[in-house]
């Protein structure tokens, strides 16, 4: 009898086992959703914190902190964290401590994009192919953008001669814990960035609801231009810059912008192509650093940027954000400068100067601007690079520009900073133009090569 009883019980349990899995596959918390729908995937990409760097997230701020656009006072320097002080002085020892947002946060963006791409592979395209493709393409743009920002900090500048023999950054392309994290070569790194950007060509067209936190085809072109420029591939850069301008040619005229606002520019002003913000840290935060003296004085009378970009004296407030997030995204002015530079590099002095003047006349008070002229392409380039520095100040682009310009003897330069009476100098092509991989990443991945410093 007892045996029978036990047998019945086990039989009952066995039958239940089959249905149990289904019955218990409900989320314990309704807020918990899985990435199983296109809506969910789109929502992950629309997280402007992780994907665009707003809130307490952000893309790397080291390109600001390491560059030459500001000069800290003694007190400002002292109040900075150790990591930032090391970056400000290009210290040979570079300890990132337990966490380093410049590494961790963009890889968070990469992981989100990877999650979406992986989830999409389990979602049917039937009946929603266009939307599916649009989301898939968008994910590629975010990932390409994140890889690019990482490569500007942790990978040496692109030099086609050495790119196959130098270490770039790890390129995780799938989610999950099981993939191996290894450093790719510089060539592979840039190939991946370009391939991600190219894979984003079918991002959905803008609709009425569109905000620049979402990718657009303009963003894809502008980002390709930015990437090719950093690779010193001027033909391709010109091509994509031109394409971007075709899509979104309008510039704001700074005459129309009231000078009494603290933040002169709105987050979604017409020049913004793609919104992205860098992580506010140390001097790379609004109201935290005095602009470098020479740069500040290079804005001549009549140049409206001096009053719109800088407030309370020489503090930078020119970010494209009324709440003070630090803009490092893509904007039309940058693309004009890209195209202008490429034209100059390719010897088209007239076209180069036309672009430069077209941009600058919107930056000056009405009627105050006298168009620049150039004797030759080199002269044009010199003027364009000078204006590029002034126009794109504190956008996080200067560091990349310096890195690539250094690869050319004609344009290379040392940068220096004097703090507390000590002058620190970073000569061109020094290994310190590339930051080391955070120590904890090496701990997680034994055998991963470190950057020389």
């Amino acid at each position: 009898m007892q045996k029978l009883n036990t047998l019945y019980t086990f039989l009952l349990l066995f039958l239940l086992t089959a249905s149990c899995k289904k019955l218990t596959d409900v989320p314990p918390d309704e807020r918990q959703q899985r990435l199983t729908t296109l809506d969910a995937c789109q929502a992950v990409l629309d997280n402007d914190m992780v994907m665009n760097g707003y809130g307490n997230y952000g893309y790397p701020s080291m390109p600001i902190i390491s560059a030459d656009e500001y000069n800290p006072t003694m007190g400002e320097f002292d109040s900075c964290s150790l990591v930032n002080q090391q970056a400000m002085t290009w210290s040979r020892t570079f300890d990132t401590g337990d966490e380093f947002p410049d590494w961790d946060l963009p890889y968070g963006t990469v992981a989100s994009a990877n999650n979406v791409l992986s989830a999409l592979s389990n979602i049917s395209q039937t009946g929603q192919a266009a939307r599916w493709q649009g989301i898939e393409n968008s994910a590629h743009l975010y990932r390409g953008f994140a890889f690019y920002t990482l490569s500007q900090v942790f990978s040496p500048p692109y030099d086609s001669a050495t790119a196959r023999n130098t270490w770039g950054i790890p390129l995780p392309l799938t989610p999950g814990r099981n993939q191996q994290i290894v450093r790719a070569t510089v060539q592979q790194t840039y190939d991946q960035i370009l391939s991600d950007l190219r894979a984003a060509r079918n991002v959905p067209p803008k609709d009425d609801n569109w905000r620049p936190t979402r990718p657009s085809i303009t963003a894809v072109y502008a980002m390709l231009a930015r990437t090719y420029l950093s690779m010193r591939k001027y033909r391709q850069a010109l091509l994509y810059a031109d394409s971007a301008i075709q899509q979104q040619p309008d510039l704001m005229h700074f005459d129309t912008i009231p000078p009494d606002r603290i933040f002169s520019f709105y987050r979604w002003n017409p020049e913004v192509i793609f919104s992205a913000a860098y992580y506010p840290s140390g001097p790379a935060a609004i109201f935290h650093s005095h602009i470098e003296g020479g740069l500040y004085s290079s804005y001549r009378p009549g140049d409206l940027r001096k009053d719109l970009y800088f407030k309370f004296g020489d503090f930078y407030f020119g970010t494209f954000d009324e709440a003070g997030y630090c803009f490092t995204g893509l904007a039309v002015d940058e693309v004009y400068l890209d195209r202008s530079e490429c034209e100059a590099r390719l010897g088209n002095t007239t076209a180069a100067m036309a672009d430069l003047n077209y941009l600058l006349q919107t930056r000056w008070a009405n009627g105050a601007f006298t168009p620049y002229t150039a004797t030759d392409a080199d002269d044009a380039l010199k003027q364009i690079l000078a204006e590029r520095k002034k126009e794109l100040v504190f956008r996080g682009l200067r560091w990349t520009d310096l890195r690539r310009l250094n690869l050319d003897k004609k344009t290379q330069q040392s940068i220096s900073r004097t703090i507390n009476g000590i002058t620190y100098i970073l000569p061109p092509n020094d290994p310190r133009w590339t930051l080391p991989i955070p120590g904890y990443v090496l701990d997680f991945n034994p055998g991963m090569p470190q950057n020389i410093r």
Binding site: M1, Q2, N5, T6, Y8, T9, L13, L16, T17, C20, K21, L23, T24, D25, V26, P27, P28, D29, E30, R31, Q32, Q33, R34, L35, D39, Q42, A43, V44, D46, N47, D48, M49, N52, Y54, G55, N56, D98, E99, P101, D104, Y107, G108, V110, A111, S112, N114, P175, G176, R177, I181, N209, R211, T213, R214, R267, S275, A323, Y325, Y440, F444
Partner: protein, 1182 residues
């Protein structure tokens, strides 16, 4: 009334011999009459019982009863019948001591005679009700005792009992509450059917031990797997407590109520620890089972008077039947059920009164010292930047405000000096005590009825509890109702149903008590603050904005947002209401004497609403309106998008649970030696919790818009200048679900009453979302064995009459809801930048190895009792290994997963482990058992615990300073308290000195922020390592007096510290012990640093978290003294009542000893101390 007191129905078939028992009332010595001539013995016995009310018990062959007795018995003397006539029929008899019953047995050559006393018998029997009608009702929980010994057993749910070795000739005594006591001889016949009659009068006081229950099976402790611990609710102690769970305190060993003053009495469930912590992050709340199902509502909704029994399952074998949720132990609550008889109405009233809390236990820096300090700081220019940089908007403490006004020439210096001088003797605690605290009173009323009508028995109860609490304006009220009925359809089938409801209201006013602080700056009331000025007007408290600034704002058209403690009291009404409904249905089908099939179902719904209402003129509303005040650029007029009128913060929460279980029971005894009981079943449980929150504006303002525009970003005025915000609406909805499908099987086997073994097995499928099936499907199981060594034939040690060894081992589970196997997201609209998009946030990273937390418990125990039960008790060591505990593991951020910049990314995984061991000892001794009875009970519980696996790296020491968090450190208990190394005060300056790089250091910033955990000093656990209670009960006749002392040893507590920055910036600080360092030499006898005017918070922080402030928290407390009077109706006397109980007492008598020299009481850390509570009550049954 026909008395069918002998063999009947199926019982007769089993019975080999039997005993019949009938009620008797009056003393012996009278005559009886039998109408017919030559009656049978049976008829004579009936007549004796009917006429003389003397019970006739017969042991022997029932055929004997059909013998005719020759003669006529008219007005026949009983003594004559007993003396002469019986002998003629080969019968003998013995009168009971009370002469209210006579036991007859056969003599002579027949085997049914009194057996030889040298033989040991294995016997068993069934106790059933001797009913007027023909229903068979088995009686569970009848106490069966071998007369003259302490060997007892109880009948199980089916009325079954057994003894494995009883000397022939022993007499068995059957006692049960409400039923008459019966006796039976032990013969060589093992099957005994005993029929018990309803008790008409209470002849004896019967000790009632309620039945044990593991929540699924109810019965005698012995018949359940493992070692359930039954709480004796009939003990008078603490019966006034309106919270049920408080009644288990000081009733069982190994259970701790964590008391740190921060918990309210209704929150007690989260502060019960059964044998220490089992989990790091999944919570340590024990599982509460009410009437066979998991209870997920507010525990206060249960009226304690409705509870019949409580059982605590601490070991693996007893709790294993609850499987994956039983890791923290189980508290099983069983409500009162309908009783067959007698019909009774019970009314109960209890009350308790507790004095106003002692606010002076809250140590404040004295007013005079505060004023001196502020004046000094003012002179030193500490506040200068307040006046200049902030444009005179910054809030100033009253003294600084006066000093500043004098400097500005607004008042004369003399006036300022006078005002300040008058403040020196104030003490804000006097006002706090007067206006914020009150006496608390609680009254409870319960009326219950229990009846049987034909086949229907029912029980109904109504209860009302009203309390005023210690904070002025705080009240709570509970209305409960419960009904339960059982309907016997036929011999095999019975139905039961119950329904209960509870309505709870908590009300409070805008009274934060001693914790009063301004909402934005967190400024606290200075000691010299008074609630009313000398004219008797309520005093405003300018804690957020200066008086001048506020006056300026009001003149500009802003509302007056000044806080005023007294006015504020009636500007906020907080109401919480809870309604709870539970319905149960059950069906019992006994289709075979050995099988029973049972189906149970429960529905529970609890709806709880919280409404925090601020009146339209309150500072709270004015403050929010002002924050959002906009200026019309055209007209310069102010307007606020927040409508004027009251504001309500509302939260609703609904819990709906559906639970069902089907189970099959099997029970069999084989001849003399084996007894097997098996239960198996399946269970479904679905608990869904939904919540809604909202804020409503403009209440009482007819002009207020119906809907609030919550999308527009407004620039904030006042303190938030430069920021933008939308109007908060907090509209939210959440929903959680706990779903389980489980199967269980438990079997208990007993051999000769010498060995008992039980095996329990359960498997739970839960919505561990996305977990691999083999991880969801974790079977848990446990085994226990008991060796009743004193029942062995070879056991001869008379001194220790009873000696049992027990052991159990098994694995239980715990569920952590912190992670799922999927990457999960939650969505919200707008993002940071205010896009029109729905955005998703990562809630959890996939925990690819998601599974249960496992708790494996090994328990051993010895139960012993000396001869005559002078000393008895239990020693129970246990070891508990928690594994697969949910814990964070750092991950490579390159793979993603960063949640917050500034903290290392981690993933939750079932990775940590913990080891806990302890001993629970319970000792009882009967010191006096004459007219005055004196019983002592002592419990000693030890507890030690450490983390055995924890892969997250140790953080900085400062992360381990909050005692309320689990502080997971490898090889240490998670309740560890850590402190900075203390190097004394600087001899010259009185500065605190810590340790840095092996040297005394005053680099406070560095020490505070960079001291690693390894360099912190471990001071001990914040949980007692040894604890227990000692109770003495004296009984004289119907009176009993009991007093309880409790103790907790081997733990530490951190005292709050004096802080210069708190005093200067937040206007108040603690001053628990002594004065700050003042001059060289003071460092020898104080560790309070000198007063510091540099505003260095790290200096204060180091001093506050250094070694000297962590002190031993050990304490011994007088818990209660209770006097109890209990009277049952005596035979022969007529009372209006059946049962009367009156009790009175006092509890929370306070500490007798505290193990630190500061007399710092860990029960009331820097908060008002609760006073002793006087209580009393009466319970009467009709």
């Amino acid at each position: 009334m026909e008395r069918k007191f002998w063999g009947h129905g199926p019982g007769k078939a089993i019975a080999l011999s039997w005993v019949c028992l009938i009620i008797c009332g009056n003393a012996i010595g009278q005559r009886f009459t039998v109408t017919e001539k030559n009656p049978t013995l049976r008829r004579i016995f009936e007549s004796i019982e009917e006429q003389l009310h003397i019970r006739c018990d017969f042991s022997g062959n029932s055929m004997t009863l059909d013998q005719k007795v020759i003669g006529r018995f008219s007005n026949y003397p009983l003594n004559k019948f007993l003396g002469k006539d019986l002998a003629q029929h080969g019968l003998r008899c013995e009168k009971s001591d009370s002469s209210r019953s006579i036991l007859f047995w056969e003599v002579g050559a027949a085997s049914a005679g009194i057996p030889s006393p040298h033989m040991l018998y294995h016997i068993w029997g069934i106790v059933m009700r001797a009913n007027q009608d023909s229903d068979i009702v088995f009686i569970p929980d009848v106490n069966v005792q071998i007369e003259g010994s302490n060997i007892t057993t109880h009948t199980d749910v089916h009325g079954y009992f057994r003894f494995d070795s009883v000397a022939a000739g022993s007499k068995l005594v059957f006692t049960c509450v409400n039923l008459d006591t019966a006796r039976a001889w032990v013969t060589d016949k093992q099957g005994i059917i005993v029929r018990l009659k309803n008790k008409i009068v209470n002849l004896d006081k019967v000790t009632v031990t309620p039945p044990a229950s593991n929540g699924i099976i109810e019965g005698r402790k012995k018949n359940l797997a493992g070692f359930p611990d039954v709480i004796n609710l009939s003990s008078p102690d603490r019966t006034y407590q309106s919270n049920l769970l408080n009644r288990i305190d000081y009733q069982s060993s190994g259970i701790q109520f964590m008391r740190n003053g921060k918990t309210t009495s209704n929150d007690v469930v989260n502060n019960i620890l059964i044998r220490g912590y089992s989990s790091i992050n999944a919570g340590n709340r024990p599982l509460i089972i009410l009437d066979n199902f998991v209870f997920s509502g507010d525990i206060w909704s249960i009226n304690p008077e409705d509870i019949a029994s409580m059982t605590i399952l601490k070991d693996a074998a007893s709790a294993a039947i609850w499987g994956a949720r039983a890791g923290n132990g189980v508290i099983v609550i069983t409500t009162k059920k309908a009783k067959a008889a007698p019909a009774a109405i019970t009314a109960t009233h209890t009350f308790s009164i507790q004095g106003r809390p002692d606010v002076f236990n809250y140590h404040l820096y004295p007013a005079a010292s505060q004023i001196d300090m502020e004046e000094e700081a003012y002179q030193r220019g500490y506040y200068d930047n307040y006046f200049h940089a902030n444009n005179n908007t910054a809030a100033l403490s009253p003294v600084i405000s006066i000093l500043h006004d004098a400097d500005l020439g607004l008042i004369s210096r003399q006036e300022a000096a006078n005002r300040i001088a008058s403040m020196r003797n104030y003490d804000v605690r006097r006002d706090l005590e007067r206006y914020f605290y009150q006496r608390s009173v609680e009254q409870q009323y319960t009326i219950q009825i229990s009846r049987k009508i034909s086949r229907l028995t029912y029980f109904a109860s109504l209860g009302l509890t009203r309390s005023t609490l210690g904070l002025t304006g705080s009240t709570q009220q509970r209305r409960t109702g419960r009904g339960q009925l059982t309907y016997v359809i036929n011999k095999q089938l019975s139905l039961s149903a119950s329904a209960s409801y509870a309505d709870i209201d908590y009300n409070s006013l805008g009274n934060p008590g001693f914790d009063y602080s301004s909402p934005h700056n967190g400024n606290r009331l200075p000691t010299y603050f008074r609630f009313k000025d000398s004219q008797g007007n309520p005093t405003p408290f300018y804690g957020d904005y200066s008086q001048n600034y506020m006056q300026h704002l009001v003149s500009q058209g802003y509302l007056d947002a000044t806080w005023n403690p007294l006015l504020g009291l009636h500007q906020e009404y907080n109401r919480q209401s809870i309604s709870n409904y539970i319905a149960n249905l059950g069906l019992l089908y006994t289709f075979h004497p050995e099988f029973a099939f049972e189906i149970k179902y429960q529905f529970q719904r609890q709806k709880a609403g919280v409404n925090d209402f601020h009146t339209g003129n309150s500072s709270y509303v004015n403050d929010i309106v002002d924050q959002f005040m906009q200026t019309d650029p055209a007209t310069g007029q102010h307007w606020s998008p927040i409508p004027y009128g009251g504001i309500s913060n509302i939260r609703w929460q609904t819990i709906i649970s559906n639970q069902a279980r089907a189970q099959l029971a099997y029970k069999k005894a084989w001849s003399r030696t084996h007894y097997l009981s098996t239960f198996g079943g399946v269970e479904f449980c679905n608990i869904v919790t939904t919540g809604d929150t909202s804020i409503q504006y403009g209440i009482g303002n007819a002009a207020a818009p119906a809907a609030i525009n919550d999308t527009t970003l407004y620039p904030l005025a006042l303190g938030g200048a430069g920021q933008f915000s939308a109007i908060p609406v907090k509209a939210g909805h959440d929903r959680t679900a706990d779903r389980f499908i489980s199967g269980f099987l438990t079997s208990t086997y007993n051999y000769f009453d010498r060995y008992t073994a039980s095996l329990t097995f359960r498997e739970d499928f839960a919505n561990l979302w996305g977990a691999a099936t083999n991880k969801k499907w974790t079977p848990v199981g446990a085994l226990s064995v008991i060796w009743h060594i004193s029942n062995e034939p070879f056991y001869k040690w008379r001194f220790l009459q009873q000696l049992d060894f027990r052991a159990s081992a098994g694995t239980l589970g715990n569920i952590s809801r912190q992670s799922t196997a999927y990457m999960t997201i939650s969505t919200a609209y707008g993002g940071i930048t205010g896009t029109p998009y729905m955005t998703a946030y990562t809630l959890s990273l996939p925990n690819e190895n998601l599974g249960w937390e496992k708790v494996t418990i090994y328990t051993m125990a010895v139960d012993f009792a000396t001869r005559k039960q002078i000393i008895w008790g239990t020693l129970e060591p246990y070891f508990k290994r928690s594994s697969s505990l949910m814990a964070p593991t750092p991950i490579d951020p390159t793979r993603g997963g960063i949640q917050n910049p500034g903290s290392r990314p981690y993933a939750l995984g079932n990775s940590a482990g913990m080891w806990t061991s302890g001993v629970d000892l319970t000792l009882n001794s009967r010191n006096l058992s004459s007219r005055v009875k004196w019983l002592s009970t002592l419990t000693v519980s030890t507890l030690s615990s450490r983390l055995t696996h924890y892969s997250a790296p140790a953080g900085m020491g400062k992360e381990y300073l909050d005692p309320s968090l689990p502080n997971p450190v490898l090889s240490r208990p998670i309740s560890g308290v850590y402190a900075y190394t203390w190097r004394g005060l600087d001899k010259q300056t009185g500065d605190p000195q810590g340790l840095w790089n092996g040297q005394s250091s005053k680099d406070w910033n560095t020490i505070v922020n960079n001291t690693t955990l390894g360099n912190m000093v471990y001071k001990g656990p914040s949980l007692p390592r040894v604890f227990g209670y000692f109770r003495n009960t004296f009984t004289v006749k119907d009176f009993s007096l009991s007093c309880t002392i409790s103790y907790r040893l081997g733990y530490v507590i951190r005292m709050p510290a004096f802080s210069s920055t708190d005093q200067l910036n937040n206007w108040n600080t603690y001053a628990p012990h002594g004065a700050p360092w003042q001059k060289p030499g003071d460092e020898l006898h104080t560790f309070i640093p000198s007063i510091d005017y540099s505003g260095n918070r790290f200096r204060d922080f180091l001093a506050a978290y250094s070694e000297p402030l962590v002190v031993r928290a050990d304490n011994i407390r007088a818990e209660d003294v209770i006097l109890n009077y209990e009277l049952r109706q005596l035979p022969g006397k007529k009372h209006q009542y059946q049962h009367l109980k009156v009790f009175a007492g006092v509890n929370n008598l306070g500490p007798l000893w505290i193990g630190n020299k500061f007399h710092y009481d860990a029960f009331y850390p820097e908060m008002p101390k609760e006073k002793a509570r006087v209580f009393g009550g009466i319970s009467i049954s009709f």
